[in-house]
Amino acid sequence: MVIPFGAVALLVIPMAVGIETTLLARIGPGLFWAVVLLFGVLVTQRESGAEGSPQRDLLTLLGVDPAARFAATAIANTILVLVFEVAVGAITIVLYDPDVVGWGWIALVLPLVAAGLAMLGTIAASVTTGLGGRGALAPLLIAPIAIPIMLGAAQATEGLRVGAGILRWVLVLAVVDVLLMLAGVLTARPLEES
């Protein structure tokens, strides 16, 4: 139910800031990325079938490497976030009519962002397993650390719009993804054991 939630957010914002077409076209892409960051991570926080302690113990007994579990969960989450991005992206284009340039680069940026948020979400979920108030905690854990992902994405789309070089921002996204991959793999076993 996160896609409708993101859609409602996009609908509500012009009610708050005004509906002039130039304003909305200008802020549309940025708002899209903000919604992806803030709401998109929620799709990574759902309880998966392997979350409960008995299920995790079973997986361990079966010899499933925690790092492999992280990778599998991260990949699944990446797909979920990507779907979220596409759905919310379509809604943004409809409601805000932004100037979308450089579809090739966008096709690269979307999965890079999805992977980063997915990995962050997976790590946050395993750090908060079994805690009562997990709902509000994971997004707080993720949001400040995800700033480079959002900056990279927003600056990339803005750069494409004005025709500036965006390589450095794509690089930021790539570096973040690599770091998170390392972090996720290295922390998988200790987190499993706690």
Partner: protein, 238 residues
């Protein structure tokens, strides 16, 4: 050094820094507003130092499994969030009369704000986890993941704001500062650092007492039903 000595030293140094800050001549450009910097810069320095110590404590815990390091990490984070908040507040109080706005999207302010939220997240995580080892391990791991990302947050924010730095002459830390003004600044940094050390020590004391309460209540728990209690040496089972 005993805790009392450290605390008296901290109080004395803080008082001295305050007096120095208020009595040195005003800055040539910023006038008396410069005095706010004598509290802002030390706060910002401590925000980063405390963060670093939390990271060191986290790594040390993961390596040694000694809870003392976890207490250090947690204490430094709590004291750190206070100083980070002060850095933000003083930055804003300086900015309003000087720049005319409470907030500018200056890279440094944005980074400090981001760090403030990372601290809050770390502290919220610690508060939510039961069990000392589990709390220590998970917050240490989260802390390290966060720390790994901070340099990237730094670069991405600096790149983002690269074209929009405020005029050099009105930037918060003036590199041309010298003489008595520099002394006031360094005095502040030194005093605040000692205050930080004293606060962290006391906060670790508190953590030790609270953690031992958690341990004590755990020792009283039934292990396998009411018929069996957890083994304890000497003390009568409850």
């Amino acid at each position: 050094m005993t805790k009392r000595t450290l605390e008296f030293a901290a109080a004395g140094l803080l008082l001295t820094a305050l007096v120095v800050g208020l009595t040195v001549p005003p800055d040539a450009v910023q006038g008396d507003f410069q005095r706010i910097m004598y509290a802002h810069v030390p706060s910002a320095w401590l925000a980063y130092l405390a963060f670093g110590i939390t990271m060191i404590g986290s790594i040390a815990y993961l390596v040694t499994s000694k809870l003392r390091w976890d207490r250090l990490a947690g204490a430094s984070a709590e004291v750190g969030v206070v100083f980070t908040g002060l850095a933000l507040a003083t930055g804003m109080i300086w900015g309003k009369p000087v720049w005319g706005v409470w907030w500018t999207w200056d890279a440094r302010l944005v980074l400090t704000a981001a760090m403030f939220f990372v601290y809050l997240a770390y502290l919220a995580l610690r508060r939510g986890i039961d069990g000392l080892e589990r709390r220590a391990k998970r917050s240490a791991l989260f802390g390290i993941v966060a720390a790994l990302q901070i340099p990237i947050v730094h670069f991405s924010v600096v790149w983002w704001r690269g074209l929009h730095q405020p005029p050099t002459i009105l930037r918060p830390d003036d590199p041309q500062i010298d003489g008595p003004l520099l002394f006031a600044l360094l005095m502040g940094v030194f005093a605040f650092t000692v205050v930080y050390a004293a606060l962290v020590r006391r906060r670790m004391d508190l953590a030790l007492i609270e953690d031992s309460l958690v341990e004590a209540s755990r020792a009283g728990e039934d292990v396998a039903g009411a018929a069996v209690t957890a083994p304890s040496v000497g003390a009568k089972p409850r």
